[in-house]
């Protein structure tokens, strides 16, 4: 029999995670993969970019995660006239106290939904992206730490829509994952059409986790065992992306780190403490899809196609 490197609290965590996934599945119908990826992204302490058409449930997903994980939640609607101060907050003179007080902006919450991020000007975008990277905000020379955990879900309309400022590659790189929701399948859509309003259902949900449990889970991601064999595989993938003529540029070492971190979170989410090649394959499209470009521009769906090509081209060593 297998000799398990036993740890009882792992089993408890597994139960919590299972419940989390199940509960979420009742609200977001037929989107289990996207949901699990979003959870993995959160566990891996990364930020999530959802790219899809309006009305497929991006906001609901963000809301749902905040609710289930017991995080406080703020939504920022990005528009072309949005200013950086509208995101991070500003200093206001308090006449009674005779001093300047900092009024924190909506970014000071545990889960921020940045809706339609590519509608804002690059200046406003970069204010948020800096906060994501530094985990703090600096206004008038004073740094204010952001709450923990800090998790940004940004949504983006497909780039070719009018009036958008597409995120440059270096900014895209700040997001651990990019997922696409897509249309629901017909059965899920029927349920959606016949069922209750999703927003009402959301309000009825109870958090599955408290913040300590969430942090404990995030810490456990680091404990997932990574064997030499999996590292070999990971490196083979990176090397292939750099040598194959299909890709315009190979994956960066940062992309490699992101891939490994997401895969570990995915393994944990599946209740395992050992990383398998399948975990890497599962998160690969979401993790590297927005970091890869083909030499021949194929336009839409490029990331997914390239990721599938990458997976199918590299044998597992």
């Amino acid at each position: 029999m297998l000799r398990r490197s036993g740890a009882d609290n792992h089993v408890i965590m597994n139960n919590i995670l299972d419940r989390l996934v199940n509960e979420a599945g009742t609200i977001i119908l037929g989107k289990e993969l996207a949901l699990r990826l979003a959870l993995a992204c959160l566990l891996a302490r990364g930020h999530l970019l959802i790219e899809d058409l309006p009305g497929v449930g991006k906001t609901t997903l963000a809301h749902l995660l905040a609710r289930l994980l017991g995080l406080n939640y703020q939504r920022i609607q990005f528009t072309s006239d949005l200013l950086p101060a509208d995101i991070v907050g500003n200093t206001v003179y308090n006449r009674e106290e005779g001093s300047f007080n900092f009024h924190p902006g909506p970014v000071f919450s545990q889960l921020v939904l940045a809706d339609e991020i590519n509608r804002a000007t690059p200046k406003a975008q970069s204010a948020l992206l800096e906060a994501m990277e530094e985990q703090q905000v600096t206004v008038d020379g004073t740094s204010y730490p952001l709450p923990k955990p800090f998790f940004v879900i940004a949504t983006q309309n497909p780039a070719h829509q009018i009036g958008t400022f597409p995120l440059p590659e270096s900014q895209l790189d700040r997001f651990l994952m990019r997922v696409e929701l897509g249309y629901p399948d017909s059965r899920s859509e029927r349920l959606l059409l016949t069922g209750h309003d999703r927003r009402d259902l959301l309000l009825g949900l109870e958090p599955c986790l408290n913040q300590e449990q969430l942090q404990a889970l995030q810490n456990q991601v680091g404990e997932v065992h990574v064997s030499e064999a999996v590292l070999d595989y990971c490196q083979a993938l990176l090397a292939f992306s750099r040598s194959s003529p299909r890709f315009h540029r190979g994956l960066s070492p940062r992309a490699g780190l992101a891939l490994l971190r997401s895969a570990k979170a995915w393994a944990l989410l599946s209740g395992r403490f050992q990383l398998l090649p399948e975990d890497i394959q599962a998160v690969l499209p979401a993790t590297v899809g927005h970091r890869l470009h083909s030499t021949t521009d194929t336009g839409a769906d490029e990331g997914a196609t390239l990721a599938r090509f990458l997976i199918e081209s590299v044998p597992i060593p």
Binding site: A229, P245, F273, Q274, L275, P277, I311, V314, P315, I316
Partner: protein, 657 residues
């Protein structure tokens, strides 16, 4: 729209391709009609200009018209498009047109293969070693272009592709050697390609007249090379016997073609000298051998006058082994031979008769008379020259008494004539004399400039004796070779002989020349001389003498195939040793499942594979799950220990679905 094979070519590659392909065709320029060569060069020049100015490139219609024009030109010069020259001309014209058409990467592939083919056609004209070196360099460069064109982005320097190309070609080298050794040889040339090379052949022929050998002596072309098995004999013994001339009309001397008697018995008085001759193509069928040959090659006969004649014409370079004796005594003289040896042409003048009568009165024997005649040549004012003054209607008479300037054939023929007047049976022998020793290869080079003629007289008690009247006039002719580069064409000018020049430069130059000839000689000996017979001999040495003809061809395929398989196995093994042993066991597990029709894809993870197997064959569920679980634990988890590995191996070994 922008598929890789349609990407435009970078300029550097265009220049490189134009240069390389011009070089592949360049040696042909002299072989084919000058108009086609000119067409080629003009088009190539134009294409080079068009690299910078693409607007110069003609459109499709114009290109089509040029193509028609080129085809017409080739057809005009070679009306029936058949044969070597016509084919090469067409190929060159088409290469030029394809170069004009070169635009995208796909064209590189076509052009490179035309280049390979063009290089192969060079060997239809010549087979010198320099051409092999030239072709090899070009093949490597062309392959580099092929490597370069398969790259995603052009590399910084073409030399990087050259490195890959050299690596590839060196990997192909063993296969090349195997094919060379085992490819069945034919005794006749393939496709009769040598058939139209006759015009270039020079050498001693079956007819001599005053001036025919001196004409030959102006060429420094190699007649043959000789490797002696023992010591090389001194120059005065190196008379290479060729045709024997019996009949004369006073001007021309010719061989006795009707004589097909075998050689008379010969009493040898010394040891036999054995040697191998590599003979260049010659006009006749004479195999040159030291006087006189006793051990002769299988496909030849020794005639009664000791001419060594091959059964088939010598249209290609051949190699043969001969044994000769320097000291010999020939037997008695037959009636027919005496008659032939005393045949006199019309036009014997009273002056000649007087001369001979005077000698006869002064001497007691034939031998003494011969000496008297030689003294005559020595004491009178005779000169040895390559440009004798023109002779009138009776050349022997005029030469003996008026001009007295001549080359070896003048002396040999007039001496023979005088001997016949005196009643001594005699004949003229043609061939070569001397030759230079290459100190680097320890072999002898005999050139056309060593062509010579001498006389033979029959003396009672001694048989046929060689008498070289040229020695009487120019003794240094025998010790040294004529230097064809120093011939002065002033009539009657004295001949300069090859002298050892002093100075560092002179000696370095000489070393270089000897070195080049030594390389050439080994090339002829080991590569071009690898004939059917030698192949058979080698096969016998290898103990596979039974392989010849079609069997050898099959053998060649088998051996080459074996070699390739062996090499790939070595490469495969080198990849394999790096593998984790646990992974190897897992692969064996996958192979066992393959028998059930489930093939694991290379990128399929163990868990995914297991679920697929279980879905297809639920009955295997427990065993597959157990093996996969153990594998994952060992390879990806922290359960890599000996008992687990052993158990994993055992489970897989017992797993026989």
């Amino acid at each position: 729209m922008n598929s890789p094979s349609r990407t435009p070519l970078p300029r550097l590659q265009q220049y490189a391709l134009i240069a390389l392909l011009t070089l592949t065709a360049l040696p042909h320029v002299l072989n084919i009609d000058f108009r086609i060569s000119a067409f080629f060069l003009v088009l190539v020049g134009y294409r080079t200009l068009a690299v910078e100015k693409t607007a110069l490139l003609p459109n499709r219609l114009l290109l089509f018209l040029i193509t028609l024009g080129a085809l017409g030109m080739v057809m005009m010069r070679y009306p029936i498009l058949f044969g070597r020259d016509a084919g090469v001309a067409l190929l060159i014209a088409m290469l030029a047109l394809k170069l004009i058409e070169m635009r995208v990467r796909r064209d590189v592939h076509i052009l490179v293969f035309i280049g390979y083919f063009m290089l192969a056609t060079q060997f239809l004209y010549r087979d010198q070693i320099w051409l092999v070196g030239y072709a090899m360099v070009l093949v490597a460069a062309l392959t580099a272009m092929l490597v370069e064109s398969s790259r995603n982005a052009p590399s910084v320097s073409l030399f990087r592709s050259m490195g890959v190309s050299l690596l590839l070609l060196s990997q192909a080298l063993p296969v090349m050697i195997l094919l060379f050794i085992f490819f069945p040889r034919f005794s006749s040339p393939l496709w009769h390609l040598a058939a139209d090379t006759d015009h270039a052949v020079i050498g001693v022929s079956g007819n001599i007249s005053p001036g025919s050998i001196s004409h030959l002596s102006r060429s420094s072309a190699v007649a043959f090379r000789v490797d002696f098995e023992g010591e090389i004999p001194p120059p005065e013994q190196r008379y290479w016997r060729g045709p024997v001339f019996w009949f004369t009309d006073g001007v021309n001397w010719r061989v006795d073609k009707d004589d097909d008697l075998a050689a008379a018995e010969l009493i040898s008085l010394g040891p036999t000298i054995a040697y191998n001759v590599t003979l260049e193509p010659t006009p006749g069928s004479w195999l040159y051998a030291l006087e006189l040959a006793v051990d002769i090659p299988g496909d030849s006969q020794l005639r009664s006058d000791y001419q060594l004649i091959r059964n088939t014409p010598i249209k290609q370079r051949i190699r043969y082994r001969v044994g000769s004796v320097i000291d010999y005594r020939s037997g008695a003289l037959g009636m027919a031979e005496r008659q032939k040896g005393l045949q006199l042409p019309p036009g014997i003048t009273p002056r000649m008769l007087d001369l001979v009568t005077r000698w006869q009165q002064q001497s007691d024997s034939d031998a003494e008379l011969v000496l008297k005649a030689l003294d005559y040549f020595r004491q009178q004012e005779f000169y040895y020259t390559l440009y004798p003054p023109p002779l009138g209607e009776n050349p022997p008479d005029q030469f003996l008494f008026d001009t007295r300037r001549g080359f070896c054939e003048h002396y040999a023929t007039s001496f023979t004539l005088l001997m016949r007047i005196a009643g001594i049976p005699s004949r003229v022998v043609g061939g070569y004399q001397g030759g230079q020793i290459n100190p680097l290869g320890k072999y002898l080079i005999v050139r056309q400039s060593d062509a010579h003629a001498w006389a033979e007289v029959w003396l009672r008690g001694k048989g046929w004796q060689r008498i070289d009247p040229t020695i009487a006039v120019a003794p240094e002719r025998i010790e040294q070779s004529i230097d064809p580069t120093l011939i002065s064409d002033v009539i009657g000018a004295p001949i300069r002989f090859i002298e050892v020049k002093g100075g560092v430069l002179g000696s370095a130059l000489r070393q270089l020349r000897w070195g080049a000839d030594a390389i050439n000689a080994s090339w002829h000996r080991w590569v071009l001389g690898y004939s059917k017979e030698r192949q058979l001999y080698l096969m016998q040495l290898l103990g596979i003498g039974f392989m010849h003809g079609p069997k050898l061809a099959y053998g060649m395929v088998a051996i080459t195939g074996l070699c390739v398989i062996l090499l790939s196995l070595i490469l495969l093994y080198r990849v394999r040793v790096k593998r984790d042993p646990v992974y190897a066991v897992y692969l064996s597990f996958c192979r066992r499942l393959q028998r059930r029709g489930i093939v694991r894809m290379a990128h399929e993870g163990p868990r995914d594979f297991a679920s697929r197997v279980i879905a297809a064959h639920p009955e295997l569920r427990n065993r597959v799950a157990r093996i996969t679980g153990l594998y994952i634990g060992i390879r990806y988890g922290q359960l890599d220990n000996k008992p687990n590995r052993r158990q994993f191996k055992r489970l897989v070994r017992r797993f026989n679905p």
